[in-house]
């Protein structure tokens, strides 16, 4: 039985509206769980609250009510320095774009979590890791000189170097061509075999169908949880909700 690493319990999220209007509720009482080594996808139409849910789950945006536990910890109860350490050591983030610090070369982006933790950097280990993920570019290149696919590989290398146990990915392949998309998804899939839990927001039904569990979201509500989803099942689920 795999260890539960994510426990989200009845979270809601409200945002303040301007002027005299009441706050708007974006997420309505969402609960979900994920285990180590599980690949969970979150799908839904634009404006469904997918990114908001991801941000609330990952400790970036405190829910208005409800609880979040990551690896047994509530990230919103930690002090600023503890939360930063938690993010460095346990959680990895991969976004669609603007993933990497533009001021730093690729190598420094990869080892950033180690430097922030004042740990020694083993250059040979990093080089071996880059070879493992088929990173072809020069690690001393700055981010702006890398292709989209290479940038995502740097982001993946960063989470590997930090030994993150959970990765939150928001449209990680959204800005890539089809070949790069397959390569990056393949790398993410491989990470789950190492016991890393991945939560991925995606518009891509085919990609979601290749994950272990898919949850469908509409208007801030969790509509369905589909284990071992297929593209047809997801398409049907999203269409049913649309009626």
């Amino acid at each position: 039985m795999k260890k539960q690493v994510i426990d989200v319990n009845q979270i809601t999220k409200q945002v303040a509206a301007n002027g005299k209007h009441a706050p708007v509720e974006i997420l309505h009482g969402i609960s979900l769980q994920a285990n180590a080594g599980e690949f969970l996808s979150i799908v839904g139409p634009s404006g469904a609250g997918k990114s908001t849910l991801l941000n609330a789950m990952s400790g970036l945006s405190k829910p208005t009510s409800g609880e979040v536990h990551l690896l047994g910890q509530d990230p919103y109860r930690l002090r600023a320095s503890q939360a930063a350490e938690f993010r460095r050591k346990q959680i990895g983030f991969i976004f669609q774009n603007y993933n990497l610090i533009p001021a730093l070369p690729a190598f420094d982006n990869i080892v950033l979590p180690l430097r922030l933790a004042h740990k020694n950097v083993d250059r040979q280990k990093v080089a071996a890791l880059l070879k493992q993920i088929n990173f072809a570019a020069d690690p001393s290149n700055f981010v702006s000189n890398l292709s989209g696919g290479e940038q995502q590989k740097v982001a993946i290398a960063r989470v590997l170097v930090a030994n993150s146990r959970i990765i939150f990915a928001d449209e990680p392949t959204g800005a890539l061509d089809s070949i790069s998309r397959q390569i990056i998804f393949g790398l993410l899939r491989h990470l789950t075999k190492q016991g890393i839990c991945i939560v991925m927001v995606t518009h891509d039904i085919e990609m979601a169908a290749a994950t272990d569990k898919a949850i469908t979201l509409r208007d801030g509500r969790l509509e369905k949880v589909i284990n071992q989803p297929t593209a047809e099942a997801l398409f049907q689920a999203l269409n049913e909700e649309g009626r």
């Binding site: 600023a80 930063a84 460095r88 533009p102």
Partner: protein, 468 residues
């Protein structure tokens, strides 16, 4: 960490270079003072203490460093806001508030060191005439009695100390200002407008309460004849009786500045809305646009106007104290007394405040390119854009003028009351409440128009929409 600071500084160099003026001016002033102190030490080691002009240079040095430490908060805010996505990403990737603050502080130390070095080098050809003028202004003409002139000396130690002091002060100030911004809102990392924590709110309202109380007490105490003043009045020592109120007046200056700075973001938008009722907002496109532009960025509004109001009030306060309270001689001596006090205590901070106004105007102008593009797309011709910028400059400057004059009125009244109550002669007429605000208003208008007009000109040259 040092490598990361250097890489981030290099990446953000264009932004940091926009802040250079502030540090060049500060380096110029601090360097002049330090060089003079070293020159006096090396060439006039045996000058008697009453004639030793070292203090003439020590006060501007200390006040200058304090001023740059305070006003650099505006620069730090603009730098963080300009790169908020990057600093949000740093936070997401695990940088804690101390590391982020160190990142900002380290970069500010670098630009402070660079700017101060340039300022020191620029000051070198002007050091002798400036030093001589300062010594004479402070009434120490006797220092030159022996016929000697102030020698030219390039002090390498003074240069190193200037760069060192600036790097340390800028670095620490940058760290502290940045820490205030990064330490809260860790549960809303992606939100750039962080709500104030309970501690920050308590601190804020405590500052408002204490400064208001201090103001009320100081004004109240100045309305009565204190026991100390009574003792002097009994023996007909009217001048000393007047001077007994100097601590009250200095407290009024301090509390007024602190209170205004604290409430500026709250009251300035209301002041703008009130006085611009007389402007043709409905009939003039440029006036209307300028009006909304001045209201939309409240932190910029406050960081532009607050330091100038503080500088204006300090100047007015020192002028009143030196002319009406400590003056006991001929008009010429009174003028000299006032001039020395202003130069010694307010001159350096004021020049740094003016450099800060120019710096944050340059930085804000550069970041408003998107607004210029938007206005151009909507149909603003180059002359409309420049006219809009002129209106903005007018609104900002006049809001400053009104704030500064309003602050001066009760101070004028209380000084006049004190002077009459202690049987002294009133030197300054009521129009003195306008002198410094008007001068600074003029400089502000010119500065802001110059910077913004240049930005519009650059934008117009590059923008293909603006075909003649």
């Amino acid at each position: 960490m040092l490598r990361i600071i250097w890489l981030q500084f290099r990446h953000s160099l264009k932004t940091w270079l926009l802040t250079l003026l502030l540090f060049i001016v500060t380096g110029f002033l601090i360097g002049t003072c330090l060089n003079a102190i070293f020159t006096i030490r090396d060439h006039f080691p045996n000058v008697p203490k009453p004639l030793n002009p070292t203090d003439v240079f020590a006060y501007p040095l200390i006040f200058g460093l304090l001023t740059v430490a305070i006003v650099s908060s505006g620069v730090v805010k603009l730098v963080i806001d300009g790169a908020k996505k990057e600093y949000t990403l740093w936070t997401i990737l695990g940088a804690n508030p101390r590391q982020l603050s160190g990142l900002i502080g380290g970069q500010l130390a670098l630009i402070g060191a660079l700017g101060s070095f340039v300022g020191f080098v620029l000051a070198v050809p002007l050091m002798v005439p400036l030093d001589t003028w300062l010594i004479v202004s402070f009434g120490l003409k006797a220092f030159f009695r022996t016929g000697s002139v102030f020698p030219f000396e390039f002090s390498f130690s003074a240069c190193l100390l200037t760069v060192g002091f600036m790097a340390i002060v800028s670095g620490i100030a940058g760290y502290l200002h940045a820490h205030k911004r990064f330490v809260h809102g860790q549960n809303e990392i992606l939100t750039t407008e962080k709500p104030r924590s309970l501690l920050q709110q308590l601190t804020y309202w405590s500052v408002v309460a204490v400064s208001t109380l201090g103001l009320v007490l100081a004004y109240g105490d100045s309305l009565i004849i204190t026991p100390q003043a009574q003792r002097y009045l009994r023996v007909d020592n009217f001048h000393e009786a007047g001077k007994a109120y100097i601590p009250n007046l200095l407290l009024i200056i301090l509390c007024s500045i602190v209170l205004f700075t604290a409430v500026a973001q709250l009251i300035l938008p209301w002041l703008i809305k009130l006085w611009t009722l007389i402007l043709p907002k409905k009939s003039s496109l440029e006036v209307n646009t300028a009006f909304w532009h001045t209201l939309v960025d409240k932190p910029y509004l406050a960081s532009l106007i607050s330091p100038l109001v503080a500088g204006s009030f300090m100047l007015t306060g020192i002028t009143y104290i030196a002319s009406d309270i400590t003056n006991f001689g001929t008009n010429q001596e009174a003028a000299a007394n006032t001039e020395a006090s202003i130069i010694g205590f307010v001159g350096t901070p004021l020049l740094i405040i003016l450099a800060n106004v120019l710096t944050i105007t340059i930085m804000t102008s550069a970041s408003k390119r998107a607004t210029l593009t938007q206005l151009a797309v909507l149909g603003f011709a180059p002359r409309n854009l420049i006219d809009e910028k002129i209106q903005e400059a007018f609104i900002y400057s006049t809001t400053f003028l009104i704030s500064a004059v309003i602050m001066n009125i009760p101070f004028h009244l209380i000084v006049t009351h004190l002077v009459i109550a202690t049987h002294n002669a009133v030197t300054l007429p009521w129009t003195a409440i306008f002198i410094w605000p008007v001068w600074l208003w003029l400089m502000m208008v010119i500065f802001i128009i110059a910077v913004n007009a240049w930005q519009v000109w650059r934008f117009t040259k590059k923008n293909q929409l603006m075909v003649a």
